[in-house]
Amino acid sequence: MENYFLILIGTVFVNNIVLAKVLGLCPFMGVSKKLEAAIGMGMATAFVLTLASGASYLINQYLLGPELIYLRTLSFIIVIASIVQFTEMFIHKTSPVLYQVLGIYLPLITTNCAVLGIPLLNVQENHNFIESLFFGFGGAVGFALVLITFAAMRERLEGADVPLPFKGSAIAMVTAGLMSIASMGFSGLVK
């Protein structure tokens, strides 16, 4: 039990997928202009990420085995792509505005390195099924948390008197950097 808890804390705070591993920056920068969109994106990614890490564990363990390692990335991508497709249709049906706001980033979850990164890290760290699920879920929560916090900050920044050359993405990158510095305080906490 403690093990799972540590995995969760570790992935959410210490080894945050965005701030520490610098994965998934594309949606992090792209869908953080509005809080609402960030919450939607965070939830969609969390859904995809948890499912993907579970499914990819099963495929890796039972379908590929040790012999078909060269097919690993390929099959992971197929699984992720179909989960994303499914999520996309689901969101299109349930929340058209969110669908529009997420825009290109929704199908891009497929190529979100975080979503591929987590299952690969799972394999690398020899997690079992439950651990994989926790790792995926923790990573997703970490991603969503940082995305939502970041979106709130950017909403405030919209009103700030930022010098012209730094307006928009530039100051957002600086902010992300400072967030990363802040999160470094947690290093050494787990492992």
Partner: protein
């Protein structure tokens, strides 16, 4: 691998039927933002067609001249895209105006009636026409068809009722204030 692909394909096929989306609710939202002048300056025959084009992602959001920057920003906000500077021919802002028919000159040809997108001109053949100012959107579409050029655009005088509080001058980044501060 193939089995995997086939299985996933089947799931997706099923899902696409289950979550089928009818129509595009976004068009309504875009249409609600557009000013409904129906002037056609965006190159589409009205606000709705422009909204449809935006909804389908076929055109830029910076073409609406009467809406100006405010409309563009609202569209950018709705669609979650970067604001764009207004297109060159949409950048000229005109004050609010309504059409006025010079009744002395009007010959009652009804050509402007057919041009008006909001039926704001009343009149019949060989009768003098007049414009219902409260309905007129100021689109200027009635100007070209008039054979005797009896329609003019009159700016709407805002008066006290239309008076607005101005953006407070806030001397933080105002270069002109440097001298004053130094003094």
């Amino acid at each position: 691998m193939i089995g995997l692909a086939v299985a996933l394909g089947a799931v997706l096929g099923f899902a696409s039927l289950k979550f089928k989306v009818e129509g595009n609710p976004l068009v309504e939202k875009v249409d609600a933002i557009l000013p409904q002048i129906q002037c056609g300056q965006c190159g589409f025959p009205g606000c709705k067609p422009y909204a449809e084009a935006i909804g389908a992602g076929n055109t830029a959001i910076n073409l609406c001249a009467p809406g100006g920057e405010a409309t563009m920003l609202r569209l950018a906000d709705l669609l979650g895209v970067e604001p764009q500077p207004l297109a060159a021919d949409a950048a000229v802002q005109k004050p609010k105006q309504v059409a006025l028919i010079d009744e002395q000159t009007c010959i009652g040809c009804t050509l402007c009636l057919q041009a008006c997108p909001v039926d704001a001109i009343v009149g019949a053949a060989k009768q003098m026409h007049t414009i219902i100012a409260s309905e007129c959107t100021g689109c200027e579409l009635c100007l070209p068809p008039c054979p005797v050029d009896c329609i003019t655009m009159e700016p709407v005088d805002v008066g006290m009722n239309g008076w607005k509080w101005q953006y407070p001058v806030y001397p933080i980044s105002d270069v002109r204030n440097d001298a004053e501060v130094a003094a």
